[in-house]
């Protein structure tokens, strides 16, 4: 019994080797959009999906790209590696030409190998983990957002140079994004030698409150807090710092800089700093994208909307420039032609990071994030 199975196995292995690569459908351009669309992380994935669908609808109404209609295939990965590989193989077997995603860095890492082998380019709106581009493991990976190390450096420089902080508490949400950012901030502060990291600690997302850790920040006499994580935890922290009558500056990453934070933190948001992609709200493309979204959904777009929108734009542009969806041509197009997108005028460098996307520091003033020059 077992022998024959092994024999068959070998046969199968051989068969698999000579099987042809996935075929392409010619009449439409299929773009997979992978990210968390259900579950508790859905708020980070759905705006990108909505952005991609909006762009596709507009492009299709205008006749499509190269005369072909654009089809968006949303695929849920719940930010879990095992579901992400399912989603990735599903997209591959449905013959997508390009993928927008994934949203979480972890899910992205799990999925990239599959795209790499299928020679599919993936453009993530939000996976900021540096090794994704810097390790060289994922040559088919691009992102319309800058990596965490840029941000960590900016945040720590801002805290030490502009705010003059000497004792800095760094908190994070233990997630790959938040922890990554916090790690870089710590590294740069320690390297800079201008300030001391007096507290470096993770908080548990979903914990009932953070008052104990806030008290700890007070005890360490920190004069600034740098937080790595997303806006729900950030607003919880800020609001509890206010409740405990603490008035030290709070600096968050781009996961904080968004309307979600302003809405949830309300009055407590006032004065909070956040690093984030440079202010592009004066860009016509960005303004139009937002206006379109608001007229369609009746609310402000969510996190990573701009980046998702931009990812869709660079992809469609590259397809147009390359005259098709052939891998090498697309790669060349992505790396060589500047595109006007919702996050500014960008093209990609050799590693896949976007050039032209940079970070600035923002501060909440009168209920709005204002870029500090």
């Amino acid at each position: 019994m077992r022998k024959s199975v092994i024999k068959k196995l070998v046969m199968v292995a051989l068969l698999g080797l000579i099987m042809p690569a996935t075929g392409f459908a010619a009449d439409t351009i299929k773009i997979g959009v992978a990210g968390p669309h259900t579950g508790d992380l859905a708020p980070y994935g759905i705006p990108t999906k909505e952005a991609a669908e909006m762009v596709a609808a507009q492009v299709n109404a205008a006749g499509g790209v190269l005369g072909m209609q654009v089809e968006v295939l949303p695929m849920d990965d719940q930010c879990k590696p095992e579901i992400a590989t399912n989603a990735a193989t599903k997209l591959v077997s449905e013959g997508v030409d390009v993928v927008i995603g994934h949203v979480c860095s972890g899910a992205t890492k799990a999925a990239m190998g599959i795209y790499k082998e299928a020679k599919i380019i993936a453009v993530s709106p939000s996976a900021t983990n540096p090794p994704l581009t810097q390790s060289g493991d994922y040559p088919n990976f691009y992102r319309t957002i800058a990596p965490d190390d840029d941000q960590g450096k900016l945040a720590s420089d801002f805290a030490t140079d502009k705010l003059g902080a000497k004792r800095i508490a760094i908190l994070h949400d233990k997630g790959d994004y938040g922890k990554g950012f916090a790690d870089f901030a710590k590294q740069f502060i320690e390297a800079g030698g201008k300030a001391e990291v007096v507290l470096f600690e993770g908080v548990t997302p979903g914990a009932m409150d953070y008052s104990a850790v806030v008290q700890k920040v007070r005890r360490e006499k920190a004069d600034a807090v740098i937080f790595g994580g997303y806006h729900p935890e950030a607003s919880k922290l800020v609001s509890q710092m206010h409740k405990k009558r603490m008035k030290i500056p709070f600096i968050g990453p781009d996961g904080v800089k968004g309307n979600g934070f302003l809405e949830i933190a309300g009055k407590d948001a006032e004065g909070v700093y956040a690093t984030g992609p440079m202010d592009v709200s004066s860009y016509a493309v960005n303004q139009k994208a937002k206006a379109d979204y608001i007229s369609k959904y009746g609310k402000e777009p969510g996190t990573f909307f701009d980046q998702g929108y931009a990812a869709m734009q660079v992809i469609l542009n590259a397809i147009e420039v390359a005259g098709g969806t052939e891998y090498a041509a697309l790669e060349k197009a992505l790396k060589n032609s500047y595109v006007d997108t919702a996050v500014g005028k960008i093209k990609f460098d050799a590693k896949g990071d976007a050039e032209g996307v940079g970070f600035s520091v923002f501060q909440v003033q009168d209920g709005k994030f204002v870029e500090l020059k």
């Binding site: 199968v12 992400a84 599903k90 922890k179 993770g202």
Partner: protein, 410 residues
């Protein structure tokens, strides 16, 4: 009939009331307007009305069935397809052969996606079979089973990234590590019973995740461990497609192996001790069964399979992070065991395939999938508590449980 409609109308009104604030009202704090979604109210009203009628009809049927079962008429009325399938060799053999054939050619006729999710489903089959030992046979409710799964996955991940261990060395090590942790975690909770056990194991599950998350030096924390190699085949270079197909056959072998072992064990000395433990712990100890060893054995054995499955899981994803090891996964595996029919091997397999594959094929309903998943769990318990495919021995065991319960209350 009129009465039925009247009552359904009342139910419908009740649900309209119940869902009103959440379904109809939506406050937009940004624009300071209230969105009244009256149409939802209509849907709720209609839905609740129809469901109420169906519900009552199903309840009546259930009662009728129970009554018949009580009177011992079950056999004559409904031997059950599952039952026949297991007992009648005329049906059993061809079905088995057909099944074997489908299993063998499956990855050759479908695309990589299907194979890939089937591998995941098979991993959960093994997990289900493992937990089936702990919960189904020995009756030890474990809500933190995923911890052992994580132990397996991280054994491979860590050994590979630090020492370059390959899949084939890590596989048994992962299983052993799982079993080891099963024993270690089993010790403090030997004395606990029932629901206490549930909450403590749930705690262990969470602790495992937190430790992985925070112990960066070893587990790489939330960043996870990337570039884990897929299973090798004498050093042959394989494309993902081939590797997936290969993993698929590997999983089939493993499932067969798990079935073989658990089946043998079920009829062994220790297997009977487990079942005795499940039925009545005190009597069991009085009969001279070493409770500590038996319980630890059940834990270790269940955890062993979780460890093995974890190694394959890591190699399939090539990347692991703590997100894959949450309470949801524990609940999922437990649902597989319970829905499959406690103690029933075929039931567990079917349930694992249904529960893992259903969400994949219902991607169209992605948004509603978890909602339906929850509803199915409730409905299954109410209308088909014996699981999808009842254990062959279950007829006897089931009654035993009922009367015992009656005694305990009465």
């Amino acid at each position: 009939m009129v009465d039925n409609i009247k009552r359904s109308l009342l139910v419908s009104i009740w649900f309209v009331f119940l869902t009103f604030p959440l379904m109809v009202v939506k406050v937009n704090t940004l624009k300071n307007i209230v969105e009244w979604r009256w149409i939802n109210m209509l849907w709720v009203a209609i839905g609740a009305f129809v469901l109420s009628i169906v519900w009552r009809w199903a309840m009546e049927r259930r009662q009728l069935k129970n009554k018949k079962a009580e009177q011992g008429e079950e056999e004559s009325v409904l031997p059950g397809f599952g039952q026949r399938l297991l007992e009648d060799p005329k049906i059993f053999k061809p079905v088995l052969i057909a099944l074997a054939l489908v299993t063998l050619v499956f990855p050759l006729v479908v695309d990589i996606y299907q194979t890939n999710i089937m591998v995941l489903a098979l991993i959960f089959v093994v997990l289900g079979l493992g937990l089936n030992v702990t919960v189904g046979l020995a009756g030890l409710l474990d809500l933190g089973y995923v911890a052992f799964f994580a132990v397996g996955a991280y054994t491979y991940g860590v050994l590979n990234s630090f020492f370059g261990f390959g899949f084939w060395i890590s596989l048994p090590l992962g299983g052993l590590m799982g079993a080891l942790f099963g024993i270690v975690l089993g010790f403090p909770i030997l004395r606990l019973r029932g629901d206490y056990l549930a909450i403590v194991t749930l705690g262990f599950g969470s602790i495992a995740k937190i430790v992985i998350e925070n112990w960066e030096e070893v587990f790489n924390g939330a960043k996870g461990i990337a570039n884990i190699p897929r299973p090798g085949f004498f050093g042959a270079e394989m494309s993902i497609h081939t590797a997936t197909t290969y993993t698929y056959y590997l999983m089939i072998l493993m499932v067969l192996f798990a079935i073989f072992i658990t089946n043998r064990l079920k009829d062994s000395r220790i297997g009977r001790a487990w079942m005795a433990l499940r039925e009545d712990e005190i009597a069991c100890v009085a009969m001279g069964v070493d409770m500590a060893r038996t319980k630890l054995g059940a834990y270790a054995f269940g955890a062993f399979w979780a460890g093995l499955a974890g190694v394959i899981f890591a190699s399939r994803n090539t990347y692991i992070n703590p997100n894959s090891f949450t309470f949801m996964e524990s609940a999922l595996v437990l649902s597989i065991v319970v829905m499959g029919g406690m103690g029933s091997i075929i039931g567990v397999i079917v349930a694992a395939l249904v529960l893992i594959l259903m969400p994949e094929y219902l991607r169209a309903f992605a948004e509603y999938r978890m909602l339906m998943f929850g509803a199915v769990m409730v409905l299954m318990m109410i209308f088909r508590p014996e699981g999808l495919i009842a254990n062959v021995r279950r007829k006897y065991a089931g009654r035993k449980v009922v009367t015992e319960d009656a005694n305990a209350r009465g």
